[in-house]
Each structure stands twice: as structure tokens, then as C-alpha cells.
């Protein structure tokens, strides 16, 4: 019987592709999030509006007395998604999953450990962005699609989809759009501070504060309502009109798209500068 050598051994196996390495970070981060009961509770709470909407669809179909004031149109999906933003679910999920994502790595030294491995800084960013993005989709795209399921299973025709055949595409595109928007923004805030708490507070202050200060200003000026494109949440809601094809409503939906794109570009710029700087790696 041979004596086994337990001393240091070299590795003989093969290597994986670059993308697999980002996905490893993403997978680990996601599983860490899902291990936290408070996060699961938050996700559940964010699904409460879904139940209300499902009930609405059900009532509209089966309770004839209610059909006058409870109807189901293409508008339902747009409202559902914008309300997920307006009444904070998207914001809270982004805050929970994203605010500490990079700052914790900076303060715990994990950032340097990741970057000393054969991955690029973009790979790292991707690994951090995917979980946040997915978490946002779990409270937007997934329930919106589930509502289609509910609708089709209770309806006896394709009603809404016949009048608006592109609706599923609109839902998907808009969900991805807000997912991308909040992911990039929250990560940009996250990489600016080594403390997840400060980053989280900054995110909340900017996301909510832009709206509060703005509406305060408009109230002082006695103007009816602030241009949506100037507040983070307002712009997100306003931009939905573009995706759902009712450009004539809302303030200036295209302006909101432009404002959001600018903020994303700014965020990307911040991320690039900050993650790339030598100071972060020290």
C-alpha cells in the first residue's frame, strides 16, 4: 500500500472559459442573497401587488356585475410595472441586492482577491450586476409574465393580445430597461463608498430625494407637476409610455428616456473610473 503524499500538489485539469468566471461570482452572490431570510421576505412582500392584479383579472372575467369598473386592458401591464417602481419594490430590491455589492468587496478585501485572478474588471462588474439585475426582474418581468398566464387561463380568448399583439414584447423590453437602469445606477453608487450603509443611504437619498426636492420646488413655484424626466422614479414611470406605445400620454417620455440614458452613461463612467483606479486595488 503506497503512502499518500498530502503535500502541495500541482493541478492537471483543464481551464474554463472567461464567461464562466463571471458567472461563478454571480452564482455565489445570488446564493448568498437567497440564503438571507429577510431578502426572501422582501421578495414576497414585493409580490403582494401581483396578487391584487391577479384578483383584478379574475374578477373582470367571472364577476359580471363588476365588469363595468374592473376591466383588463393592455394598460394593466404597464400600470403594474410602473407601480412596482412607484411604490418602491424595485427600489428596495435594488437597494438590498445592490447597494452593498461592491462596497462590501472593497472593505472586505475581496475586490483585490477577485482582481488578482485571471478576470478583467468588466468580468467582475458582470458578476456583480447579474444578481441585482435578476433580483429586479423577479419583481417585474416574472410577475408580469405570470399575469399573462393568469389572464390566458381565465380568459376564453386572446382578447388583449389580439388588440395589442406586441404587449409581451413591451413588457419584456420595459422590464429589462428598468432592470438595467437601477442595476447600473445602484452599482455606481456602491463602488463609491467602502461602506454598504453609506452607499445604501446615498442611493435612497438620490432616488427619492430627486423627486421630493423637485416636487417641493414645483409646489413652491405653483407649477402643476414637475417634469418627470428630472426625478429618477418619475422618469422611470414616464419612460414606460415609449415601451407601451402610447407616446402621446405622460410628460415627455422621450425626454425621460434621454435622461435615464444619460444617468446610465454617467454611472458607467463612474464605475469604469472607480473600478479601474489603482487606489481601489490597494
Amino acid at each position: 500500500m503506497p503512502l499518500h503524499d498530502l503535500s502541495y500538489q500541482r493541478f492537471e485539469g483543464g481551464r474554463t472559459e472567461q464567461l464562466a468566471r463571471s458567472l461563478a461570482i454571480a452564482r455565489m452572490t445570488t446564493s448568498l442573497l437567497l440564503k438571507r431570510r429577510s431578502f426572501l421576505l422582501l421578495l414576497c412582500a414585493c409580490w403582494i401587488p401581483v396578487i391584487a392584479r391577479a384578483a383584478q383579472i379574475y374578477v373582470a372575467r367571472y364577476v359580471p356585475q363588476a365588469s363595468e369598473f374592473v376591466t383588463v386592458t393592455a394598460r394593466l401591464w404597464q400600470e403594474f410595472l410602473t407601480q412596482q417602481v412607484e411604490y418602491l419594490p424595485v427600489l428596495l430590491v435594488a437597494l438590498y441586492a445592490g447597494a452593498g455589492a461592491i462596497s462590501t468587496d472593497l472593505s472586505s478585501g475581496a475586490f483585490v482577491a477577485y482582481l488578482s485572478k485571471p478576470i478583467s474588471r468588466f468580468d467582475y462588474f458582470l458578476g456583480k450586476a447579474i444578481p441585482v439585475f435578476l433580483a429586479i426582474l423577479v419583481v417585474t418581468l416574472v410577475p408580469a409574465l405570470a399575469l399573462f398566464g393568469v389572464y390566458l387561463s381565465v380568459a376564453n380568448d386572446f382578447g388583449v393580445l389580439e388588440t395589442a399583439p406586441l404587449l409581451p414584447l413591451s413588457v419584456i423590453a420595459y422590464s429589462l430597461w428598468i432592470g438595467l437602469y437601477f442595476t447600473v445606477f445602484v452599482l455606481a453608487i456602491s463602488c463609491l463608498s467602502r461602506s454598504g450603509r453609506v452607499a445604501g443611504a446615498g442611493f435612497v437619498a438620490l432616488a427619492l430625494g430627486s423627486g421630493i426636492v423637485l416636487s417641493g420646488m414645483m409646489a413652491a413655484l405653483r407649477l402643476p407637476s414637475p417634469p418627470a424626466s428630472l426625478s429618477m422614479i418619475g422618469a422611470t414611470i414616464d419612460s414606460a409610455h415609449v415601451f407601451f406605445g402610447n407616446v402621446s400620454s405622460g410628460d415627455t417620455p422621450y425626454l425621460s428616456i434621454v435622461a435615464m440614458t444619460s444617468l446610465m452613461l454617467l454611472s458607467a463612467f463612474v464605475l469604469r473610473r472607480r473600478l479601474g483606479s489603482a487606489e481601489v486595488a490597494s
Partner: protein, 308 residues
């Protein structure tokens, strides 16, 4: 085989030049990287890893030019950072396996290899516990495993024994030695000269971003002539020393209280006679090796301001 070659390498850090026209040519092996604070040791490590960009000059590690090679070079490098590292919520085994996956190992391979290197690093059942709750010693072991898990050919260790207790330190140095024996080159950056003396083949000493000393450890330690260190037990302190001085020997006193005497050849009866005559008994008598500390102190500019 050349491990690391730099040519006029200049790196700026903020508005300060951390490395100045550094030209090095180092062969594979276990190399000690020494230097006072601010000498540029960490800067050199970070430059090799591609965290910092040289403003002038070039460097090649394992035959690959730094900067351009990026990920391909880091595939063959392992890095043990000086500061603590953990991923909140992850156990030691998960952290190391993750490091393995990022280092390009398939998931199953990474987990198996993580167990293997953690075993090697001496972390037993504790590997299932959270790294953030570890003592310094266990954290350092986890860091060592993280730096080795993707099987690098060259590991950069930044103060691996810092914060370790004497037992942990001894074990860590044993591990470094073993890694070296497996054909992995090691660059050991440290302030503890004893560590370098006990595991390194050669030494690179930086001072203010420049090369101050480079050579094989055995050659550096050689002391020309017959110099001995001697310690006696005596009834009346100082008598023996006086007797030595009277006999015309060259005497120096080390900081540890031992006397250093320069003889003409190997020690003879003469010393013992002298001891007995002055009521002393020789307790320690050894050929003196130049300590790395003395070389260090003489090679660096001691009085220079060391601001960063």
C-alpha cells in the same frame, strides 16, 4: 530560468515615484523581497499583477510582458494580499472554491482542489466556518489557499506571517518552503528578516524604489575571516570581556549582549584558558554569520525621510 525581468521600470503612485528605473533579473526559486516602508515592495507586486501601470520601462514575468498579458499572466500568478480578505457570508471552503472558479477551474475541480489546498494550508474542520469570524492565523491560511487554488507558477506573498503566533508562523514558513519544492516560485515580501533567512534562496532589497541589494542568501551571509560569537557564564560580569580585550583580540558587542571576537583561525584552547582564568565558563561559541539585519541596515539609507 528567468522568472522576472524588469527594465528601467518606473511606476508612479499618486504624484510620487514609487519605483524608479528598476532593472532586475531574477531566477526562479523562493525569493525574499525586502525593503523599508515605502521602498516600493507593494508597488512592485501590484505592478506585476497589472493593478498599476508603469509610466516607463517594461517588465516580463514568466516570459510574459506585464500590462499586455493581463488575464493570461494572472492565470499563472497567485497573490496573497497583505490585508485581510473575506467574502461576508462565505465559509473558508466556499471562498477558496470561488477563487478557484474565478481562476478558471470548473466547478467540481474547484471544489476538490479547494479542499486539497486547504488541507495543505493546515485548515482542518474549520474550513466549513465563516472566514470573517476567523482568527488571524486561520485567515492567513485561507488566503494562502486562495492564492494557490488555481495552480499558479509564481506566487506573490505580501507579509504572509504578519499577525501569526510563533507556531503559526513556523507552519506558514514550512508551507512556503514546500511550495518552493514543488517548482512554484515564490516572491516573499516581508519585514521579518528571520523569515527570509529561513526559507529563501535569494534576496532582493529595495530602497526608495531602487535596487539596493540582490544576491544569493548563502553568499550574503558569509562573513570573511574567523569571527565568532561567544557567551559565557561568569561570577563577576565583565571580567571575561576585559581579559579578552587585554589579550589584544578585536571585540564587538552585539545588541543581544553576545560578544563577537575576531580570531586568526578556528578557536583553540586559548579561549577556554582565558575563560577559566577569569572565572568564566563558555556557554556558547559559534562561527558568526552576518545577519540579514545588518546587511539590510547597511544597505539602506537609514536617515532618509520615509514619507509616502
Amino acid at each position: 530560468m528567468t522568472l522576472l525581468r524588469t527594465h528601467n521600470l518606473t511606476v508612479r503612485y499618486g504624484n510620487k515615484e514609487a519605483l524608479t528605473s528598476l532593472s532586475l533579473d531574477i531566477d526562479a526559486g523562493v525569493i525574499g523581497l525586502l525593503g523599508p516602508n515605502g521602498a516600493g515592495k507593494s508597488t512592485l507586486l501590484k505592478t506585476l499583477l497589472g493593478f498599476l501601470e508603469p509610466s516607463r520601462g517594461s517588465a516580463e514575468v514568466l516570459g510574459l510582458p506585464i500590462g499586455k498579458s493581463g488575464a493570461a499572466l494572472r492565470q499563472r500568478l497567485g497573490y496573497f494580499p497583505e490585508r485581510p480578505v473575506f467574502v461576508p457570508g462565505l465559509s473558508s471552503i466556499e471562498t477558496v472554491a470561488l477563487a478557484g472558479e474565478i481562476g478558471g477551474l470548473a466547478r467540481g475541480d474547484a471544489l476538490a482542489r479547494a479542499h486539497e489546498v486547504l488541507w495543505f494550508a493546515g485548515l482542518g474542520e474549520a474550513r466549513y466556518r465563516l472566514v470573517e469570524e476567523f482568527s488571524t492565523g486561520m485567515q492567513q491560511r485561507t488566503k494562502l489557499a486562495m492564492s494557490l487554488v488555481h495552480d499558479p507558477d509564481f506566487v506573490l506573498l505580501d507579509e504572509p506571517t504578519s499577525g501569526l503566533d510563533p507556531v503559526g508562523r513556523r507552519q506558514m514558513l514550512d508551507l512556503v518552503r514546500q511550495i518552493g519544492e514543488r517548482g512554484v516560485s515564490v516572491l516573499l515580501s516581508t519585514h521579518l528578516l528571520h523569515d527570509v533567512e529561513s526559507v529563501c534562496d535569494s534576496v532582493v532589497l529595495l530602497d526608495k524604489g531602487k535596487l539596493a541589494l540582490h544576491g544569493k542568501l548563502s553568499e550574503l551571509k558569509q562573513q570573511p575571516g574567523w569571527v565568532y560569537e561567544i557567551r559565557v557564564r561568569e561570577d563577576e560580569p565583565g571580567t571575561f570581556r576585559k581579559a579578552l580585550a587585554e589579550s589584544g583580540l578585536l571585540i564587538e558587542e552585539g545588541r543581544d549582549g553576545q560578544l563577537r571576537i575576531t580570531l586568526e583561525e578556528r578557536p583553540t584552547r586559548f579561549l577556554f584558558e582565558l575563560a577559566r582564568a577569569s572565572g568564566a565558563e563558555i556557554r556558547h561559541l559559534r562561527r558568526f554569520e552576518r545577519s540579514l539585519e545588518e546587511q539590510f541596515l547597511s544597505a539602506v539609507d537609514r536617515d532618509a525621510p520615509r514619507d509616502s
